[in-house]
Amino acid sequence: MMQFPQAQALRVDKADSLAEAVSGRRGMTSTQREVWIRRLFILAGFFSVIVMALIVLFLFKEGLGLFFDASVSDFLFGEFWYPTYDPPDFGILPLIAGSVAVTALSSFIAVPLGVGAALYLGEVAGNRAREILKPAVELLAGLPSVVLGFVGMVVLAPLMQEWWDIPTGLNVFNASIMLAIMAIPTIASISEDALHAVPRDLQEASLALGATRLETLTRIMVPGAMSGIGTAVILGMSRAMGETMVVLMVAGGAAQIPGSIFDSVRPLPATIAAEMGETPFGSEHYHALFAIGIVLFLLTLGFNLVAAYISHRFQQRGAATL
């Protein structure tokens, strides 16, 4: 006579597989193992969130020490950064101004080039050109920042000095060009993805109505991809603001509020990178550099949250929302 498994063991709804449910006896341990494995993977998924929390925790733990002696507004709006004077001045307004200057100017350069490259890749280039150019843009993204810093220092700086007869080639303009080269691939590849995501039938409908490819591009594709392009621009700016080696090597290092694009500046990341090495562990200066880290972290976090919000809020949901 055939043996049927006991009815109470056949609980397919609780088991992770039919085999477990049927085998009954082994079922419990096997199910338990599956549950534990699932928990392990959920934990792994949360690991990035945990790391973010740890970053916040340790930045604040090391950075807040500064504010026992100095006020937050003196720190943020103080006009003098003289960390090694006696008494020292920890005012980061010139550093923030430096970061804002290079970020703004580099976006000014990178946005047209990055979006233009994306439009070319997405709408103009033939298949063969695209197959070569897309990986090339990715290669550009892979250039180490220290290499761009080096090129800016060794190649561009002397040229600028010669062309425009300025005291130093290490300035806002040079750093912005090098930062733009870093930001272009980010902007181009995210924008191109966004163009690609616009439903094909919209494009075909526009062309069928007699619009030229350009008219279709400017009136259908670009509006449809706008949230993606906006995200791309903001992420590119965030990348430029947080980038370290280029501004450390090329921006000139003078902690001043720039009056022209040929002035030297000392952006936030450059200050941290240049000074941390010579700072005694646990000194006031050390805490001040971590406090700069907090400011930089919050600025880039702000950019990234805005980007995430835009891409979420204005997401293309089928053709109906256009």
Partner: protein, 289 residues
């Protein structure tokens, strides 16, 4: 628009498309120019001695062998950290997670981790690994820092690879009575392996080129001989370039060495990215499931 003739509209289109082409050319020109410049100036410095000897004569002569080895140690360490964690997180995202608030939080965490500036990772590594865990300035501290930095890259690539495995594979396996974990281990992961490998190569390339995260956690200007334990500090290619170009007393004298080091670093990093890109293109072409 209706009043403009078709010819005028065509002309405008050609002009604007030509502009896009010019913008693309400028971008490619920047890439080509940089690569060519470094190649021309760096090729002269390359020699067997340069690749296999330590620096000599207060860095003005000799090679960069310890820096090459240091970069290899750091990147291997970084991928040992990032690969298991990244693949596990990707398995969660692709195989276990369901849409909802929890998933949103996880995705936001990964996105924002990807956006944390590299110098902030450096500060974090300094505070947590060097200070709190008392690893000191060491390969271990640098590898852990770099590993967390490339984690989002690895997660992204691994998740894409897992998602490309068709659901029919999973359904067939589950239908045969395999558990979810057995399905993942025996069916989904093997099918996604090439994609995961591509992701790890991209991660390695990224880790090899980063400077700011290792400045305060692992890198040093000069070591006598190679490191003997993971708790030793190391020389590394990107840091070597930075130091030679900015801080030496013989900046002009070491120019050829700087170009050579830049060329070696670029070849390493771009070589890795190129391998990853080629594998991926091949995969997309040959895979027919």
């Amino acid at each position: 628009m209706s009043t403009t003739s078709l010819a005028a509209r065509r002309l405008r289109q050609n002009l604007v498309f030509a502009l896009f082409r010019v913008l693309m050319l400028i971008v490619m020109g920047a890439l080509g120019g940089i690569l060519l410049y470094v190649l021309i100036h760096g090729a002269g410095a390359l020699s067997w001695e340069f690749l296999t000897e330590p620096p000599k004569n207060s860095m003005t002569e000799g090679g960069i062998f310890p820096a090459i080895m240091g970069t290899i140690y750091l990147t291997v360490g970084a991928i040992l950290v990032a690969l298991p964690l990244g693949v596990a997180a990707a398995i969660y995202l692709s195989e276990y997670a369901s849409e909802g608030k929890v998933l949103q939080v996880v995705r936001l965490g990964i996105q924002n981790l990807a956006g944390v500036p590299s110098v902030v990772f450096g500060l974090f590594g300094l505070a947590l690994f060097v200070g709190y865990f008392k690893l000191g300035i060491s390969i271990a501290a640098g590898s852990l820092t770099l590993g967390l930095l490339i984690l989002p890259t690895v997660i992204g690539a691994a998740e894409e690879a897992l998602r490309q495995v068709p659901d029919t594979f999973r359904e067939a396996s589950l239908g045969l009575g395999a558990t979810r974990w057995q399905t993942i281990r025996k069916v989904v992961l093997p099918a996604a392996l090439p994609g995961i490998l591509t992701g790890s190569i991209l991660g390695i390339g990224r880790a090899a080129g980063e400077t700011a995260p290792i400045m305060f956690t692992a890198a040093t200007f000069y070591t006598i001989g190679l490191p003997r334990s993971p708790l030793d500090e190391v020389m590394a290619l990107p840091y070597h370039i930075y130091v030679l170009a900015t801080a030496g007393t013989h900046i002009e004298a070491t120019r050829p060495l700087q170009y050579g080091t830049v060329l070696v670093l670029i070849s390493l990093v771009l070589g890795l990215s190129m391998v990853a890109i080629i594998i991926r293109t091949k995969m997309r072409k040959t895979k027919k499931w």
